[in-house]
């Protein structure tokens, strides 16, 4: 048999029907649902008298709208309606739901892995572009629109064209203080916000192999910021160890059998990708965005660029508009950018290891005067664990607000927003105009970089802090 990439292996396993001139009909193993992109899909089913074909392969939670303080008092009536609608829909169609009362509630991309629902080799979809996160387990996971949500609910399948494959090889080693977030920001900075369009990315290389599951999720999470609907990492012992004992993972003998099967999920020797790109991990610095796309970033020891430095007219214009929106002058040092808000959270960086990393920097220090800093754990389970480990207390003692889980300031659909004109160091994934609030100025960074910005009131190179901490 011809050698195959892991992407092709998973794809071929899931083709229900194939005919020339048509997309493949692909089977979906896991469908995750949240309150914002599903109401119209359930309504569509209802209008046509259709059922959910496999409620047992569907799992819902609420995350986007939920308040992270006083979560049961939702003042926004429209938001409340949306959550009530999800409860009603799940009840009516028999879909399991982790609601606000559930200890399992959290951001959909945090709880899927946490509960062991996310497993190697699965096809996973959700009406959310950051579904790519689940690719960290060697699953083929991608975001879909509401019409596709309805299609999957009704048929458990999707018509999909076979994607092109791209290897993103990250070699070398990362310096202390350089994180998975910096890796993915550096990749997007180097190759652009649309280099992945039409492709599924496979991340490979020494740097990737050494990452924890949480860090791998951070990388895959932001594949969509490179235009790729999906990004994945072949499973290995790190993956299997993470999954063992999780609620929905296979148990006992069945787990060992599953591991044997999962081990086959790798790219065969000699398999050919449609495109290969490479980045040297040794050269990656802590990275901060200065503009309004995730590609508009600089290393922390760099400066805000001049628009004239860009090659094309479109890029120059985009940089100009971005700098205007961000209120930044070309040529200033990244470390001179003052910060008024800090958000540690989102499906990119709100897992326990992210919070530990940030807490290491914060421990024994105080949030700078004039800075408002928030920690929003990705799930109620993460929250509980952080409280048990004493991490929560470190943040609270330093002057951070410690919240309940949800999407929160990542997109500000709940009351957590950044006021116009103010700068926020955010561990989330999108620095688009208005993302964190109208006129809000977002800088994407790693959890350690966000923590340091909270303490100093401006960006600092965490590599220098790590040297202190280690000695």
């Amino acid at each position: 048999m011809a050698p195959k990439t892991i992407i092709e292996k998973i794809w071929d396993e899931h083709v229900v029907y194939r005919e020339d001139g048509k997309p493949d009909l692909l089977y979906i193993d896991l469908h995750l649902v949240h309150e914002v992109t599903s109401p119209q899909a359930f309504e569509g089913l209802r209008q046509k008298g259709r059922k959910v074909r496999r409620p047992d392969l569907t799992f819902a939670t609420m995350d986007h709208n939920v308040p992270t303080v006083n979560r049961f008092v939702i003042e926004d009536e429209v938001a409340r309606n949306q959550m009530t609608a999800l409860e009603r829909n799940c009840h009516e169609f028999g879909v399991p739901l982790a609601d606000l009362n559930s200890p399992e509630q959290g951001i959909v991309h945090v709880i899927g892995p946490e509960l062991g629902l996310t497993q190697p080799g699965k096809t996973i979809v959700c009406g959310d572009s950051h579904t790519s996160t689940h690719g960290a387990f060697g699953a083929l996971a991608f975001g879909i629109g509401t019409s596709e949500v309805e299609h999957v609910l009704a048929t458990q399948t999707l018509w999909q064209h076979r994607p092109k494959t791209m290897q993103v090889n990250v070699t070398g080693a990362l310096a202390p203080g350089v994180s998975a977030k910096d890796v993915i920001l550096a990749i997007i900075g180097k190759f652009g916000v649309d280099f992945g369009t039409g492709y599924v990315l496979e991340f490979t290389g020494d740097v990737i192999r050494r990452l924890s599951m949480e860090e791998r999720m951070t990388i895959c999470n932001m594949s969509i910021e490179a235009g790729a609907r999906a990004g994945l990492i072949a499973p290995d012992d790190v993956t299997f160890a993470y999954l063992r004992g999780r609620k929905y993972a296979p148990k006992g003998e069945a787990f060992e059998q599953a591991v044997e099967k999962w081990k086959q999920l790798c790219t065969d020797e000699g398999a050919v990708y449609d495109r290969v790109v490479h980045i040297d991990g040794n050269e990656i610095a802590p990275t901060v965005t200065w503009g309004t796309t995730p590609a508009m970033s600089s290393p922390i020891d760099g400066t805000v660029p001049h628009p004239e430095e860009f090659a094309t007219e479109t890029e120059r214009k985009a940089a100009q508009l971005a700098l205007q929106y961000m209120g930044l002058k070309p040529g200033i040092k990244m470390t001179d950018i003052a910060i008024q808000h800090v958000f540690i959270g989102s499906c990119t960086n709100s897992r326990i290891s992210d919070l530990r990393e940030a807490a290491r920097i914060v421990k024994g220090k105080k949030v700078a005067p004039g800075v408002r800093a928030l920690v929003v754990p990705g799930s109620q389970q993460v929250k509980k664990q952080a409280e048990e480990e004493g991490i929560a207390q470190i943040f609270i003692d330093a002057g951070f607000e410690w919240r309940d889980s949800g999407c929160s300031m990542c997109l500000g659909m709940n009351p957590d927003t950044v006021p116009a004109g103010e700068h926020c160091a955010s561990t989330s994934n999108r620095n688009f105009e208005g993302r964190q609030g109208k006129g809000a100025r977002t800088h994407l960074v790693s959890p350690a970089m966000a923590a340091a910005a909270a303490i100093y009131g401006h960006f600092v190179d965490v590599r220098t802090l790590y040297k202190e901490a280690v000695r």
Partner: protein, 194 residues
Amino acid sequence: MEPFIIHKGKVAGLDRANVDTDQIIPKQFLKRIERTGFGQFLFYDWRYLPDGTPNPHFELNRPENEGATILVANENFGCGSSREHAPWALADYGFRAVIAPSFADIFYNNCLKNSLLPIKLPKEDVVYLLKQAERPDYELTISLEQQVVFDDEGFTSAFDIDPYRKQLLLKGWDEIDLTFVYEPYIIAYEKARS
């Protein structure tokens, strides 16, 4: 779904790259549980000033763009969030087609599901159309059947579209109904795997 066969209409230009779906329809308007009524919020943060009055500098607010049904934009249009509210808002505002050199994948698919035709044209054609769109009366015709975009002054440009999607659009078919025809295959697949 409403069929899309041929459409002639006025062209509006939005000469920006990487227009994301957060811009097309900001999050505060995602809380509705219907598919309709999003047009009033299209490009909200660009379209309106903080006091709620229309921003005269925003492209779509220019008088010459009033009543436009075809939008021309730059690279990577519709990137970011998967929200289908973006094509819903564009369609509800009155657009039938969006022309750009490239689109983000999820957005592109979402448009097709809503009879809003996303058309990829070569960069130089888009540059030309953005220029023409500055005129108040500039119109284009889009024939999905022929897969071609043309004006009355000799411009013509062909585009690609997946034949399966094209069929669905021309006929205005409901995709789920169609997939149910393949249910025996789905059942067989589930049996074989369990």
